[in-house]
């Protein structure tokens, strides 16, 4: 799949839905951890693997720690 913004956004929201952690009103600035989507370390690891599988790379694997969907989208936009 491409790394177009809509495609990456769909991957993230589908993933959060699958683990039942998609917050209401989820958007580019919603935190992925703690008070936002509440991802723990294993779920974040799973998101990393999912992004890599679907889009061929992911920000976590290159040492980044995106805090929001917007930062994930920025990673692919700058790739």
């Amino acid at each position: 799949m491409s790394t177009a913004t809509a495609d990456v956004q769909k991957t993230v929201t589908d993933f959060l839905s699958s683990i039942e952690k998609l917050p209401e009103g989820f958007g580019a600035d919603t935190p992925l951890y703690a008070d936002g989507a509440g991802l723990d370390s294993l779920e974040t690891a799973e998101l990393s693997a999912t992004l890599e599988d679907v889009h061929g790379s992911d920000p976590y694997s290159v040492g980044e720690m995106p805090q929001t969907l917007g930062e994930i989208l920025a990673f692919y936009a700058g790739a």
Binding site: S41, L42, A45, A49, D53, Y60
Partner: protein
């Protein structure tokens, strides 16, 4: 080895020893072949050599002839020229015996199998075989698969290997499938058992489950020993082609941890067969078999005492073994105490009266500091309807070091999304670190030497 062949040949030289689709060789013929090979090795002053052949009827006389004169043979895996050239260099083999055209020139001397089967030749006729003392080492080299690094040469002594067959009863009516290569220790085990019992070896090539199933049906196989992975593929093949069920009387599993449900599947698939497990490895040899059809080993095998030929103990969750039929050491490495205790690399747990295998120490997945055993997860996934085979392994991950990854082969017509949901549901009560975080539907499961590969290559 030669001694076992000659023992049967002395009482019944015409008894069939090896059968393929193309060739049948008797014990008498193999014993004569071995004698000629021994003469040729002596005349050519060959003390060590490698073999690159897969046909058992050709390999057996080479092994037996070598054992007769105390020369060290080493059967190579059926790999390509580059891989075998690396083995020649790594294990210092000046002589390679092969009929393959693509291997000419990779060793100092490349001989055809026929060169040795011809014996000493007319010019060197009447060669006197060297005396080998009863207690002298009759060496044989077995190579490890090298899945955890470069292959190592495991040095064995035919005297010690044959000692492990002392309790094998005569069974000339049995026809054993050779599902392993003779470069594998498990293949040697089958060979030793067959020769010690005077049975026949049915040896198709290549030795994949599809050829094995065909040989079972066409060549009257009654007994077969293979890895759990091999058996799972064979059952799947049998169900797929709808052909007749082979009339097996014995189904033996070994070579990797055995999922409990597979024992039941095999009993159902082969209702007239006894199902047993063997626990063995290149390094410590065979430890006997479990015939009660239950997973794992009986705790009775533990702490048998110094008098026992094979003894086991558990140290920090890992099985240790002391065996008097085990290896002498590794090629090119310092001597070891051949009769001493040795770690097996197998993680085990005791449940009730059984020792249950939890996977290899090298297969443990470290998920953020939590040690995860792949096998129990594989067993759980394998029980999900629609799953034909499953492989659990560690996938590198920047967040946690590794995550549990799963590959699944599905039955025809299975919906991928439905199956993934079912797998997740089946694993939902596992500890979070043990739940598969990466699930892929694949056409084939990665294997090495007919075992599931649980480490990323």
């Amino acid at each position: 080895m030669d001694e076992l062949l000659r023992r049967v040949a002395a009482v019944d030289p015409d008894r069939v020893a090896v059968v393929t689709h193309d060739v049948t060789r008797t014990y008498g013929q193999l014993a004569d072949d071995a004698l000629r090979v021994a003469a040729a090795l002596t005349a050519r002053k060959i003390r060590r050599f490698a073999i690159a052949e897969v046909e058992a009827a050709a390999v057996l006389p080479l092994l037996a002839g070598a054992s007769l004169v105390g020369a060290e043979a080493c059967q190579y895996p059926p790999d390509g020229p580059d891989e075998l050239r690396a083995l020649v260099e790594r294990f210092d083999h000046d002589v390679l015996v092969t009929d393959r055209d693509d291997l000419q020139g990779i060793a100092l001397e490349v001989l055809a199998v026929g060169d040795l089967l011809a014996g000493a030749g007319s010019e060197d006729g009447g060669v006197e075989l060297p005396e080998v003392a009863d207690d002298a080492v009759r060496p044989h080299l077995v190579l490890t698969t090298g899945t955890t690094g470069a292959p190592r040469g495991v040095r064995h002594d035919w005297n010690r290997l044959v000692r492990g067959t002392a309790r094998v009863r005569p069974a000339p009516e049995e026809r054993w499938l050779l599902a392993f290569g003779l470069h594998q220790f498990a293949g040697l085990q089958v060979l030793l058992h067959v020769a010690a019992s005077g049975a026949a070896l049915v040896a198709p090539a290549p030795r994949r489950p599809i050829e094995g199933l065909d040989a079972m049906r066409a060549l009257g196989v009654t007994h077969a020993s293979a890895t759990p992975t091999y058996w799972r593929f064979l059952i799947a093949q049998m169900r797929s082609d709808g052909g007749p069920v082979p009339a097996l009387r014995q189904v033996t599993l070994g070579g990797e941890a055995i999922p409990g449900p597979l024992l039941g599947e095999l009993r159902t698939a082969f209702p007239d067969a006894s199902v047993s497990q063997v626990y063995a490895a290149s390094e410590f040899g065979s430890t006997g078999s479990m015939r009660d059809g239950r997973p794992g080993l009986s705790v009775d095998v533990l702490e048998r005492g110094d008098e026992a030929d094979v003894d086991m103990r558990i140290v920090d969750g890992e099985l240790w073994i002391r065996s008097r039929s085990g290896m002498l050491g590794y090629h090119g490495e310092p001597e070891i105490d051949a009769d001493g205790w040795r770690a097996t690399g197998d993680r085990v747990e005791i449940e009730g009266d059984r020792i249950l295998f939890r996977g290899r120490t090298s297969e443990i997945i470290n998920v953020g500091g939590v040690k995860v055993h792949p096998l129990p997860i594989e067993e759980r996934v394998a029980a999900v309807p629609g799953v034909v085979m499953a492989r659990v392994f560690g996938r590198p991950n920047a967040m946690t070091g590794a995550i549990v990854a799963l590959e699944v082969v599905t039955a025809p017509g299975t919906d991928p999304d439905t199956l993934k949901a079912a797998v997740k549901a089946a694993c939902a009560d596992l500890a979070p670190a043990s739940r598969p975080r990466s699930i892929k539907i694949v056409d084939d499961i990665a294997t090495t030497g007919s075992k599931i590969l649980r480490r990323e290559p």
